[in-house]
Structures are given as structure tokens and as C-alpha cells.
């Protein structure tokens, strides 16, 4: 590590450390009933988590001594290894809670290849798209014309998408909604690198429409969708292509809305369907389907403005929130630290995400920039889904809160993910590629 050209962004490290240690405090609060008197016993969850924090910090420190070209140079081998793991887990992995997404080494040592897959795919996307010549739609990349609109996708653009979709398909086969969505967030990186934002708009629309069909009669929705499409077509009448696109979109989304019954009843699995129904309030079953979310909301709601005080939360201390120290850890924050503590944590996360994006944009290296966006996208998906689930804004999806939830392999993966970027960022002035 040559000091001369190293500029470590301490703000990212401070935010990381704050989240990790605040997280550990809350894991301790949520699992203190396991205590057998020995504070640092590995038989307790918080004891093991502390060990993992040590391991992760050591790894983070180690990464800072790596040659920053390592990641760029080894992106493809790492990606290949990840594909091997993702394929392997489908064959030899053990099902945990219905998802075949874990290599179980021992009871307390499990490895989820999708964590590694996200890191590897972020790297390989950065590597591939980091080539100076890369563009989704360069000259000669026009595939066909949609009326007056050229539809462009370059060869390298196609390969870039393939690098994303191959691991995505493998993760989808694991039948783990959380991992799939977290991985899918990497698609945001394509948008930053010039892929059309229409895809994201359409994906968002699909989710919004799916949830609204549960709430409103679907013929009303179809009428609204067609109305908006007609209005857009009218406004965009100067381009026949845009007009046609608006009309086509309207028709396709109407069909989608009409078919949501089929989607909800046949494509979604029962627990996924139930979770959506609970979210929109169509199912009231506080002791059944709704139980986890309800208990989480009760714990958070009872925290009030300033919280009940550290280790004073009755819901946390007496384990009323199932899976609290893993997926529902945010409820411990809400109860014991109140609105102020929960807001502080949210601000820390938003601050870290924004800092990563801003830092990414100042990279001279395209590789570093694209990788930074990959990191931010993955974290963003995790944070949105996890906290959203804990406060009842998002259906229940099992996914950890980054660096905060109990779980060694998750903490370790996020540490590698983030510190790789911190390392790359620290060399921003040295790397010219």
C-alpha cells in the first residue's frame, strides 16, 4: 500500500463500523436470554456474532493490503467459481426453510453461495462493462426498427446482460425470493451504464399493479391503465414509435392485470400470496400468517419516540418477535431506541448508500465506478426490503439487514463487498483504466 496515492474515505468506514457495532448491540439485546453467564461464550448467538465481527474486520483489513488490480484481474475466475457454487448448491445444498440455497458445513457454519454470487457478478459486470469501448447501443448495434424508433443492443451489451442473467437464473432455481430480489437489484447498474430505464419503470409498474389488483376491482384498474396509455399516445403523437409503444404497453399491462388472478393463485406460492394479502390488509390473522409482522410492528410501535432503553425492551427481551435477531432485528432497534434510534440507523444507511454512489461517480476507473454502483444497488435492495418488512410496508421476505442482522456469512460477505469498494476508492487517483 503506497501511502502517496492512497486516500481512504473514512466516512464510509465510520458508517460501516457504526452499523456493525450497533447491530451487534441489538443482536445481544435480542438473544441475551441465551446467556449462560459467560459473556463471550460461543454457545450464544451474540458470542458467535462477535467472533464473526472479528473475522470480518480482519478480512476488511486484509483487503486494504490487496493490490487494487487484483479484483479487476481476477473478476472472471471469481465469477466462474461463483457459477460453480450456484450450480452446485442446487445439487448438493440443503434446504433451509424451503429454499435450497445453503451449503451446510456445520449447524452454525453455513454458506450461502448467492452472497458470493452477488459479489462476483458485481465484479464481472464492472470488469466487462468497464472496457472503454463498452456501450449498449453503439453504431451498428441497431437490431430492428419499431416504427421510427431504432431498437439497439450491441453485442457486448448482450453479453453484459447474459453475465447477469445466468447467475440470476440459478438463484431463481433455489426458490429463495429474498436472494433473487437482492440479486435482481444489480440490474440498476445497467441503467447507470446506459441501458434503457424503461425496463425499471415497467418492473416497478408490474409490482404496483399486482398489489393494486388485490385492493381494487381489476376492471377499474384496466380502465385506468388504458386511459393513461391513450393519454400518453396522444401526447407522444409526434413519434409514431412512442405512440405505438404507449398503446402496446397499455394493452400488455391490461392483459397482465386481467391475468393477475392466475399469477397470484398459480405462479405465487401460498406463503408468498398470504404475505401480499396480509400486507394490503386483506387477511386478518394475527396468530397465523400475520404473526411475525404483527409482533415486529408491536415491538417497534411500543418503542415510542425515545424507546424503552437499551436492554429494557420487553418484546425484545422476552422474544415475542420470531426470528428477531436475524431478519427482524430492526424491531429491536425500534423498541429499545425508539423513533430517534431507528431514524438514526436509517439515516446511516441512506448516508452510506449515497456516499457510495457519490464516491463511485468520482472514480477515474470505470471498473471502480460500476462496481460501486453494484454495491449500492445490492445494499439498497436489502435495506428496503428488510426494514420495509419489519414496519409492514413490504411483504415478508426473508433477507438480512446488511451488517446488522445476526449471521456470520452475511456479515462477512457484506464486509468483503463494501471494503473492496473502499479499497478501490482509496486508489482512485492511481488507477487509470
Amino acid at each position: 500500500m503506497a501511502r502517496r496515492d492512497t486516500h481512504i474515505d473514512w466516512l464510509m468506514i465510520v458508517l460501516y463500523l457504526f452499523i456493525v457495532f450497533f447491530g451487534w448491540m441489538n443482536v445481544y439485546a435480542a438473544s441475551q436470554m441465551e446467556s449462560n453467564g459467560e459473556f463471550f461464550s460461543l454457545s450464544t448467538s451474540y458470542g458467535r456474532q462477535l467472533l464473526w465481527i472479528g473475522i470480518s474486520l480482519a478480512a476488511a483489513f486484509g483487503i486494504m493490503f490487496f493490490n487494487s488490480y487484483f479484483f479487476s484481474a481476477f473478476a472472471y475466475p471469481i465469477y466462474g467459481l461463483a457459477l460453480l457454487f450456484l450450480g452446485g448448491v442446487l445439487i448438493v445444498g440443503q434446504a433451509v426453510a424451503g429454499s435450497k440455497s445453503w451449503f451446510v458445513i456445520t449447524e452454525s457454519l453455513k454458506f450461502q453461495p448467492s452472497e458470493f454470487g452477488k459479489f462476483a457478478t458485481a465484479l464481472v459486470m464492472a470488469k466487462f462493462m468497464g472496457e472503454k469501448s463498452f456501450s449498449f447501443g453503439g453504431p451498428g448495434s441497431t437490431l430492428f426498427h419499431f416504427f421510427d424508433l431504432p431498437v439497439k443492443l450491441s453485442r457486448e451489451g448482450f453479453f453484459a446482460l447474459a453475465l447477469f442473467f445466468v447467475p440470476a437464473a440459478l438463484i431463481l432455481l433455489e426458490n429463495d425470493t429474498g436472494s433473487t430480489i437482492a440479486f435482481a437489484a444489480l440490474f440498476l447498474v445497467f441503467y447507470r451504464e446506459g441501458f434503457t430505464g424503461l425496463v425499471l419503470v415497467y418492473a416497478l409498474l408490474a409490482v404496483v399493479l399486482l398489489i393494486s389488483t388485490v385492493l381494487v376491482d381489476k376492471f377499474i384498474i384496466i380502465a385506468v391503465v388504458l386511459g393513461i396509455a391513450a393519454l400518453l399516445a396522444l401526447l407522444l403523437r409526434r413519434s409514431r414509435g412512442l405512440m405505438a409503444l404507449a398503446i402496446l404497453s397499455g394493452v400488455v399491462f391490461s392483459g397482465y392485470v386481467y391475468g393477475t388472478d392466475y399469477l397470484i393463485n398459480n405462479v405465487l406460492q401460498k406463503h408468498q400470496r398470504d404475505r401480499i394479502l396480509v400486507l394490503v390488509g386483506k387477511v386478518k390473522d394475527p396468530k397465523g400468517v400475520e404473526y411475525n409482522v404483527n409482533q415486529s410492528k408491536i415491538a417497534i410501535g411500543s418503542g415510542g419516540l425515545v424507546g424503552k432503553g437499551y436492554l429494557e425492551g420487553t418484546q425484545t427481551r422476552y422474544r415475542f418477535v420470531p426470528k428477531q435477531y436475524t431478519d427482524f432485528i430492526f424491531s429491536a432497534v425500534g423498541e429499545e431506541w425508539g423513533f430517534l434510534g431507528a431514524s438514526l440507523l436509517i439515516l446511516a444507511y441512506i448516508g452510506l448508500l449515497s456516499r457510495i454512489v457519490l464516491n463511485a461517480e468520482r472514480q477515474k476507473s470505470r471498473f471502480s465506478r460500476i462496481y460501486g454502483y453494484g454495491v449500492a444497488s445490492i445494499l439498497f435492495a436489502h435495506i428496503t426490503i428488510n426494514i420495509g418488512m419489519c414496519i409492514g410496508l413490504v411483504p415478508t421476505i426473508g433477507i438480512p439487514l446488511p451488517m446488522f442482522s445476526y449471521g456470520g456469512s452475511s456479515l462477512f460477505s457484506f464486509t468483503i463487498l463494501i471494503f473492496t469498494f473502499i479499497k478501490l476508492d482509496s486508489k482512485r487517483s492511481a488507477i487509470l483504466s
Binding site: R192, S302, Q315, F339, L347
Partner: protein, 618 residues
């Protein structure tokens, strides 16, 4: 800054949007909606009821009639029923009926499934096992983690007596739960007898302890250092008026007989003994055996669960003549010198009320002494005719009769469920014969205590106490003291008869004992007054009745004895009353032969399947 670089603001905008959405939702959950705080408390704080010890019941001399023993309920926490349960082993350790156990456990699990019962709420599977029964199980409870033993209070009776008078406690029923918010399902409440009438004194006051519980319902220390807890207050001890010595003695005398004895201290109205026979061991209606034993007792054709001392009763027979004599004197219809002819009977139309042979015609004292039927038929006729008309005359007569407590259920007494019996109103006869169409001679049997009259042993004993007092009585009762505080709730009642006239009747009663029908019931060493009676029984052998008080000059005890199907009053009821008084006044009985004859006399056919008391058990 190119177009791509501007996209960072779209990303940061997304982050900010999500952050703001979270803060908005959090502010609703944590600041604006108060319901979550209440639900959180309901989750984590459990109110534990602290059950106070129930008060003891003592006899008038402080001897224990009812005390408490710890019993155990085997509780189950359905949420913790995980691994296969070794039902055989569990039941074997405490001698639990396996079929019952399976049925109860299934029932609890069904309720949990139907969400009527919390998964973590402990529920009783087997109730009220004694310390002895759970001794082996207790040591091995750790083998059955879903179960625990909950101590509760069990009533115990050192002597198997006074079952119907003391009453029993049982789980409170739905009706009471609705009426009285003090009770919660599963609480115990006094069901009959003293347990019922002194429920509020004996039960004490429940306390509440607020504790933290976890998601499985395990306790974790007190809430706010017990700031909101209330301590339970132990029930107060009740000293009853019963004298355990004669209560037990009376039950022995009444063994193998049907009937009742009531003994009252005249000057206080305190009931010294209330015996109903046949009876049962009160320890039978306690704990696990209650259902089985209750069933057997209910089926017994001799009705051991029935308190014969306070039931609707029988005609009082000749004991009633005492009141007619007193009323006649009070109204001026009779004087001590009044004589009525007796030619072996009293003629009404073609009908004759027979009389036994005695020298005649008798005067008032001699009429009591010999129990002359003709005399009291004539006297009753004249008493009723003393009014301006039959109706008015009858009403006046009835007023005096009820002033002695007959035909009333002593509403201010502490004895629950006393029946009024029957001293007919005029409307009764109006309905029967038509208004104005009945005359004293129509209802002449009232003169000698027969006919429609119905009285019970309590009323007869009270009547005797009123005579012994010289014309007044205190409402008969069973409660004497609550802890050390005397109960002074019971009022003095006047009969309206001049004490002088009562004195004449008492004189007659003494003659009954010295030279009349009660000679066989004389008590050695003390003068007494009494009267025999025989209640006509259309269904079989007549009932034997005897009333008595002693000592004659300063009465300490008044007794009424009623023995069913025992014939003439002097044969069974008289000696029983006599022995009771002797036992009470002298604390011992010096007539072993008489005692033996009475105790061994069998006048009923016992039910072999019923757990009623054999004399040897007393």
C-alpha cells in the same frame, strides 16, 4: 457533467424516497398510534392471581371443623407438548386414570386448535390431587417438561360430621361468574351450608401480581418492582355456634335412621347441633373423588345430600298442642282451670278424632301431660271461634303460630336454603272449600298438629327455645364469631304471648317429663320440660317427634328430634333428645344401655352402594 453522471441523483433520490417513506411509517407506528404500546404490555405482562388461604371453620369451643390442605393440579402448557408423551408413565406415577387424562388433554388441545385457549396458557389436566398422591410424581416432573404442579387449597374435615351443615366448595358456575365480577373461571366458591353463607368472610381477598413473561409464558420477575401488585388477604376464620361434642354424638345416635336433630341455646338462638341423617363424610366431596362420590350420593334412595333439619317437613303432631295451649291462654279462651270432656275422642259430625285412655275430663296442665286430643280439638275450635268470624279467628291464631317461627324460613338467619314448611293461609282453605264455607271443625286436625301443617326440626327447636325463654326467641343461626369479632346480626323476635301463660305451658311440659308421655325421656340430675309427638304419615309408619328443654328453671338447651317411621314419639325421639341434653349439660352420658339401644337401632335400609357413614366410622 454528462447525462450518465446525472443518474447519480436519480439513485440518491430513490434512497431518499425510501428513507422518507420509512420515517413516515415509523412516525405513525411509534408516535401517532398508541395501540402498539398496549398490545406490547398485554404480550409481556401477565397478571397472576394470588389466591388467599380460605378461613377455617371452628366449633363454638375453638375446635377445628374445617381446615385447608394443599392440593395440586397437574397443569399442561400446550405449546410445550412436543416430543411423544409417555402417558402411561405419567399417569402411573400419580395413579391417574389414563382414559380421563387422555380425554382432558385432548379437550385442551382441541380448544387450543379452535383458538379458544392460548397455546401458552397453562390448563389443568388433573385437578386436586393430594400431597400424598403427587409425592412420587413430583420427584420426576422434570421428565415431563410440558407439565407442572400448581398448588391449590383443598378443604379437609378432621371429623366426618356436619357435612350438610358445613357445605362444600366447588368451581364457580357460569351464572355466578356473570353476576359477580370478583370470580374468575376456575375459582372456588362455597356451594352450600356455612361455606355458602359465609363465603365473603371465608374466601378472603385475591391479590394480583404483575410479572413479565416471555413468548412461551415463562415468568421473568416482577413488573415495575411490584408497584402495581396487590397482596392477597387471607380469609377470616369462622367460629360456628356448633358444639362438636353433641354434633358428633347426635350423628352417632341417628345412625341407621332417617331424621333430624336441632339443638339451640335458647337465650342466644345459637344452634348447638344440627344433625341430619343419613349423612356422609364431607371429605368425600373434596378433591379428585368429588365427581364419583357425588354421583353415588345423589343416587342413594335415602337422600344423604338432603338436609332434613331444614326441609319442608312433616306435621308436628302433638308438640303443636303446646302452642294452642299458649294461644288459648293469651286470648282468654282457656284458663288453667278450663276442662273439656273427653270420651275417648272428639266428634265432628260423623267423624271422630280419637284419643287414648286417660282419666278425664282433663284440665289444661293435665291435657298437656297426657296429650289429650279431644281437649285440643275443642280448644282450637274455641280459639278460632273467638274471632268475629272464622276467617278473623283463624288469622289471629295463625299470627301467633308464625310468631313462633313456624311457617317461616328465618330470612335473617345465616342458614341457607331453609324451607318455610306450611302453616296454611286462609286463602289455602278458601281455595279448597270455598270462601266462607269452612269452619274450625272443618280443619280441626290443626288443633292436634296434624292435617296440612308442615314443620321442620329447626322450626320445632326454635319453638321450644321460644317457650323455654318465656315467649321470645333470637333468630336461630350458625355463625358465632368472625376471627375474634362476635356476629351480632340476629334479631330478637317476640311471640306476643304473655310470659305468665308461657310459664303455665312450661309447667305442663315438666309434668310431661315427670308423669306424662315423656317419662322415658327424663334426664338424670336435671329437671326438664318436653312434649312428645307423632306425625301421621300416610305412606307408612308414623314419624316420631320430641321437643325438650333443660334445665327447666334456667334453660340452656332446647332440642327438637324428628325420626322418620319410628312410631310414637316416646320410643325413639324422646330418648335421643334426652341423651343429647345429658351430653351437652354434663359432657358425658351415664346411661350406656339406652345409648347402645339407640345407636344400634336400625330404622332404614341402607344403600349398599352409597358411601354414607357407618356408626363405626364416627
Amino acid at each position: 457533467m454528462n447525462e450518465s453522471e446525472n443518474k447519480k441523483w436519480i439513485f440518491i433520490g430513490m434512497f431518499a424516497f425510501v428513507g422518507i417513506a420509512f420515517l413516515a411509517k415509523l412516525s405513525v407506528l411509534q408516535i401517532f398510534d398508541p395501540t402498539y404500546k398496549q398490545i406490547a404490555n398485554a404480550n409481556a405482562i401477565r397478571k397472576l392471581t394470588q389466591y388467599p388461604a380460605r378461613g377455617y371453620i371452628l366449633d363454638r369451643n375453638g375446635e377445628v371443623l374445617v381446615y385447608n390442605e394443599v392440593s395440586y393440579d397437574l397443569m399442561v402448557v400446550p405449546a410445550e407438548l412436543g416430543a411423544p408423551l409417555d402417558t402411561m408413565a405419567l399417569c402411573g406415577l400419580a395413579d391417574i386414570d389414563i382414559a380421563d387424562f387422555r380425554k382432558n388433554l385432548q379437550n385442551i388441545q382441541d380448544q387450543v386448535k379452535a383458538r379458544k385457549l392460548g397455546k401458552s396458557t397453562p390448563s389443568p389436566v388433573v385437578k386436586q390431587m393430594s400431597k400424598l398422591e403427587v409425592a412420587t410424581l413430583e420427584e420426576r416432573m422434570y421428565e415431563f417438561p410440558a407439565f407442572f404442579l400448581q398448588p391449590r387449597i383443598l378443604r379437609r374435615y378432621p371429623k366426618p360430621i356436619a357435612a350438610n351443615i358445613l357445605g362444600y366448595i366447588s368451581e364457580v358456575d357460569d351464572k355466578k361468574l356473570k353476576e359477580d365480577p370478583y370470580y374468575r373461571p376456575g375459582d372456588y366458591i362455597g356451594n352450600t351450608g356455612i361455606e355458602k353463607s359465609y363465603e365473603e368472610v371465608l374466601r378472603g381477598k385475591k391479590g394480583v401480581k404483575n410479572i413479565f413473561v416471555d413468548n412461551k409464558g415463562n415468568p421473568h420477575g416482577s413488573y415495575m418492582n411490584g408497584q402495581y401488585d396487590t397482596a392477597s388477604v387471607a380469609g377470616q376464620n369462622l367460629t360456628s355456634t356448633l358444639d362438636i361434642l353433641i354434633q358428633e354424638y347426635g350423628e352417632k345416635l341417628m345412625a341407621h335412621k332417617k331424621g333430624a336433630i336441632v339443638a339451640i341455646e335458647p337465650e342466644s338462638g345459637e344452634i348447638l347441633a344440627m344433625v341430619t341423617a343419613p349423612s356422609y363424610d364431607p371429605n368425600l366431596l373434596v378433591g379428585r373423588g368429588i365427581r364419583k362420590n357425588y354421583g353415588k350420593l345423589v343416587m342413594d334412595h335415602n337422600l344423604p345430600l338432603f338436609n332434613r333439619a331444614i326441609m319442608d317437613g312433616y306435621p308436628p303432631g302433638s308438640t303443636f298442642k303446646l302452642l294452642n295451649a299458649a294461644i288459648g291462654l293469651q286470648l282468654g279462651v282457656l284458663t288453667p282451670a278450663t276442662r273439656y270432656p273427653c270420651g275417648g275422642g272428639f266428634r265432628v259430625g260423623g267423624h271422630v278424632v280419637g284419643c287414648h285412655s286417660h282419666p278425664g275430663p282433663p284440665d289444661l296442665l293435665f291435657s298437656i301431660q297426657t296429650s289429650c286430643n279431644s281437649y285440643y280439638c275443642a280448644a282450637f275450635r274455641d280459639i278460632v271461634n273467638h274471632g268475629r268470624n272464622t276467617e278473623e279467628g283463624y288469622i289471629t291464631w295463625r299470627k301467633y303460630i308464625t310468631a313462633f317461627g313456624l311457617g317461616t324460613n328465618f330470612p335473617d338467619s345465616d342458614i341457607p336454603n331453609v324451607k318455610s314448611g306450611l302453616v296454611p293461609q286462609t286463602t289455602f282453605y278458601d281455595k279448597w272449600y270455598g270462601r266462607g264455607k269452612w269452619k274450625p271443625t272443618t280443619i280441626i286436625s290443626l288443633g292436634i298438629g296434624q292435617g296440612e301443617l308442615k314443620v321442620n326440626a329447626l322450626q320445632l327447636a326454635n319453638m321450644t327455645a321460644a317457650l323455654a325463654n318465656g315467649g321470645w326467641w333470637i333468630t336461630p343461626h350458625l355463625g358465632k364469631k368472625v376471627d375474634n369479632e362476635s356476629i351480632r346480626l340476629f334479631k330478637r323476635n317476640e311471640t306476643g304471648i304473655n310470659p305468665e301463660y308461657i310459664g303455665i305451658v312450661k309447667e305442663g311440659m315438666q309434668r310431661v317429663m315427670t308423669g306424662g308421655t315423656g317419662r322415658g325421656a327424663q334426664i338424670p340430675g336435671v329437671t326438664s320440660g318436653g312434649k312428645t309427638g307423632t306425625a301421621q304419615n300416610p305412606h307408612g309408619e308414623d314419624h316420631s317427634v320430641f321437643v325438650c328443654f333443660a334445665p327447666a328453671d334456667k334453660p340452656k338447651i332446647a332440642v327438637a328430634v324428628l325420626v322418620e317411621n319410628a312410631g310414637f314419639g316416646a320410643t325413639w325421639a324422646g330418648p335421643i333428645a334426652s341423651l343429647m341434653i345429658e351430653k351437652y349439660l354434663f359432657r358425658e352420658v351415664k346411661r350406656p344401655d339406652l345409648e347402645k339401644r339407640i345407636m344400634e337401632g336400625v330404622l332404614i335400609k341402607p344403600d349398599p352402594a352409597s358411601p354414607t357413614i357407618k356408626p363405626s366410622q364416627l
